[in-house]
């Protein structure tokens, strides 16, 4: 759309407007000497026919006022690109491509960058050749099997680094990444996205993992490498946010952005880390949800948990393909401390599919995530969490989940007996 000549666009708009005007004229002829009722009918019919016709085509790269942005988002479902200031600037500027911009210094700088890129590409070629030669070499010549492996690995790392360095200074790459048009199949965009994630979102996530003691309580250690976004319907949930019980009654959707190449299968596990056990005066864990064998890749990021196993229209129940333990609405007793619900994205070993029927036998109560990960040979790649506590909708949620008997239970502070009085000399003994 950005490449469309502005004059053509205005022409199109004129054509559309005249078409509208004609239509209204012809209808107004029919409405001659009538009451006002048909006017509203006609207006309604018009809006039903084509709601976009009123304002013409909107370009997400060029909309520069709030109203048009809203229209674009609501009616066409397209997010505007970049900042409003940028869009306004683009609208008024002649949109000349980078190669033709009339700035001498800029063009000279581009030349230097292009030279650098050519140099890097040449280096990559030589490195690839050297790697191929090394792979052909007899391990005895290169100092043993281990030494050869180490050398191969370091050379591969070096090539990866060179591939990034070849593109990192390209202004087009930078622009595309900032516009969100970067192709995540390409290493440079994955690298930039990873860097951006680590600059802010990962720091917040790390802090939440530490603050909410996810690390010693559920896993011994955790270094997330994938960006996980959690949302219930349209509501995005930041890590650690309190979620209203009626919102979390339905399954969330996840967006898992991985920054390394290739498709992989993941298992999603949701664990409640604060299930009170009044008999033992302590806490335990409960598994709220398990879904396995979900394919993700750098470009395939969306995991709508509620649409993983679509229910067939007919009465016959098809065997679930992904969900091993269906979603249990998070709930908390009145007066009990808040519940931490951690959503783990676990990579399956070697993209091997897990047996769903076997996973279905997993017990929800006293769920041991460490054991589960060890047994199924999983690797945690992403995590996010939310919290829930007793609220005004919780009673209804619990009743619908079949926990009507639990609604009546309220947790009260336990009374601790005071120490018996002892005289000072007695205490010393």
């Amino acid at each position: 759309m950005a490449s469309v000549n502005p004059s053509i666009r205005t022409c199109l708009r004129c054509v559309k407007q005249t078409a509208n005007a004609n239509a209204s004229l012809s209808v107004s002829g029919a409405r001659f000497l009538s009451t006002t009722a048909p006017v509203s009918q006609e207006a309604a019919a018009q809006t039903q026919e084509n709601p976009f016709e009123k304002w013409g085509p909107l370009d997400p790269a060029l909309v520069d006022n709030k109203r048009d942005e809203r229209r674009l988002i609501r009616k066409e479902g397209v997010m505007p690109i970049g900042s409003r200031r940028r869009r306004a600037a683009l609208r008024t500027s002649a949109q000349i491509p980078f190669e033709q911009l009339p700035y001498q210094a800029f063009q000279e700088a581009r030349k230097i960058l292009l030279e650098d890129r050519q140099e890097k590409i040449k280096q990559i070629e030589t490195q690839k050749l050297r790697l191929a030669n090394l792979l052909k070499q007899d391990p005895a010549v290169s100092g043993g099997e281990e030494a050869k492996e180490v050398r191969v690995k370091s050379m591969q790392d070096h090539i990866r680094e060179l591939i990034i360095l070849a593109d990192i200074n390209d202004p087009i790459v930078k622009k595309k990444f900032e516009d969100g048009e970067g192709d995540m199949e390409k290493p440079i965009y994955r690298y930039l996205a990873d860097k951006k994630w680590r600059q802010y979102k990962k720091l917040i996530l790390d802090q939440r993992i530490e603050q909410f003691h996810i690390v010693p309580d559920l896993l011994p250690s955790l270094d997330p490498v994938a960006d996980v976004d959690l949302a219930f319907g349209r509501r995005k949930i930041n890590p650690g946010e309190f979620v209203d019980s009626c919102i979390s009654e339905s399954m969330p959707r996840l967006k898992v952005q991985v920054f390394d190449k290739g498709e992989k299968l993941v298992t999603v596990v949701v664990v409640d880390a604060d299930v009170p056990v009044p008999e033992k005066d302590s806490f335990t864990t409960r598994c709220q949800f398990i879904a396995s064998n979900i394919p993700i890749s750098p470009t395939q990021t969306f995991i709508p948990l509620n649409r993983l196993d679509p229910k067939p229209k007919g009465s016959e129940e098809a065997a679930p393909k992904h969900i091993a333990l269906p979603w249990l609405a998070p709930w908390a007793h009145k007066g009990a401390p808040y519940r931490r619900l951690a959503v783990f994205v676990l990579e399956q070993n070697g993209a091997n599919a897990l047996d769903i029927a076997a996973l279905e036998k997993t017990k929800r109560e006293h769920f041991n995530l460490r054991g589960f990960i060890h047994k199924q040979k999983l690797k945690p790649i992403g995590v996010t969490l939310f919290r829930t506590q007793w609220d005004e909708n919780m009673a209804g949620v619990m009743q619908r989940a079949g926990l009507a008997d639990q609604v009546k239970i309220e947790f009260k502070q336990k009374k601790i007996d005071p120490l018996p009085y002892k005289r000072r000399t007695e205490r010393m003994r």
């Binding site: 919780m394 239970i409 336990k414």
Partner: protein, 261 residues
């Protein structure tokens, strides 16, 4: 070339003193001559700048502050018990312990006191912690799940509010919110007990009461002038009244001189 000038004072001194100066006193003579104010007597008396006796240097031997351990290792404590009193942080609060504003260490959970070090947390600090059972030791193994106590008991509520059916709309466990005179529901305050009307409801109050506002006519300068005049008059009146109260108060606040009672 410089020699005559340097030796000039010596010459002057020897000329001034008619008597013979022995070789052992030559230096003294020179010193006298070279000093700016050649005083005949030199007296060095150094007075004390601070008091050496009495309370001036602080009483060193005051009453004891009863600091130190109030509970020994392994002793049973309940929440709020003070375990250690100290000046500064000789000991730090560890598991299930807190630190007061005077750095005293107190218990947050019932259990058994442990004095320990945790090099993973800090290389040199010493901690006081509480374990839930008698045989446990601190620090806990690294990366193990935290040992936590619920500290709550389940109680069955007598008055559980009846739930509305799912068809009726939003289900709430709370009783129906109170309504105002107009019949609209009142908002529940932050603490849950104070009720007030919602802002949109307050905004609609005039509409309900049937208050009519004269329509604004753009360009009606006469009406605008009348309104602004009325406003200015009202402001002037207000200002006058304010001035009157100030003037009335002033004589009362009059201060008496230092001599008066």
């Amino acid at each position: 070339m410089l020699l005559p000038r340097i030796l000039a004072p010596i010459r002057a001194a020897t000329k001034a003193s008619p008597s013979f100066v022995p070789s052992s006193r030559v230096l003294d003579t020179l010193r006298n001559v070279n000093s700016a104010n050649s005083s005949p007597t030199l007296s060095f008396i150094r007075n004390a700048t601070s008091l050496s006796q009495g309370r001036a240097n602080g009483a060193k031997d005051g009453p004891g502050k009863r600091l130190g351990a109030k509970k020994t290792g392994g002793e049973y404590v309940i929440p709020g018990n003070i375990i250690f009193r100290q000046r500064g942080t000789t000991w730090f609060p560890g598991e299930n312990c807190g630190m007061g504003r005077d750095h005293c260490i107190f218990a947050k959970q019932p259990g058994y006191v442990r004095y320990y070090r945790d090099p993973r947390k800090h290389p040199t600090r010493q901690y006081i912690g509480i374990t839930f059972t008698k045989d446990e030791t601190l620090p806990y193994p690294p990366n193990a799940p935290r040992r936590r106590r619920l500290g709550l008991v389940p109680v069955i509520r007598e008055s559980v509010p009846e739930l509305q059916t799912a068809e009726a709309g939003a289900e709430t466990g709370l009783p129906a919110a109170p309504t105002n005179a107009a019949g609209s529901t009142l908002l529940v305050g932050k603490k849950g007990y104070a009720f007030r009307e919602a802002n949109w409801d307050i905004g609609r109050a005039a509409e309900r009461a049937g208050v009519k506002v004269r329509e604004f006519v753009p360009g009606d300068r006469f009406r605008a002038w009348r309104k602004s005049k009325a406003r200015k008059e009202a402001n002037a009146e207000k200002k006058r009244l304010r001035g009157a109260t100030k003037a009335g108060k002033k004589p009362q606040k009059k201060r008496r001189g230092p001599g008066g009672r």
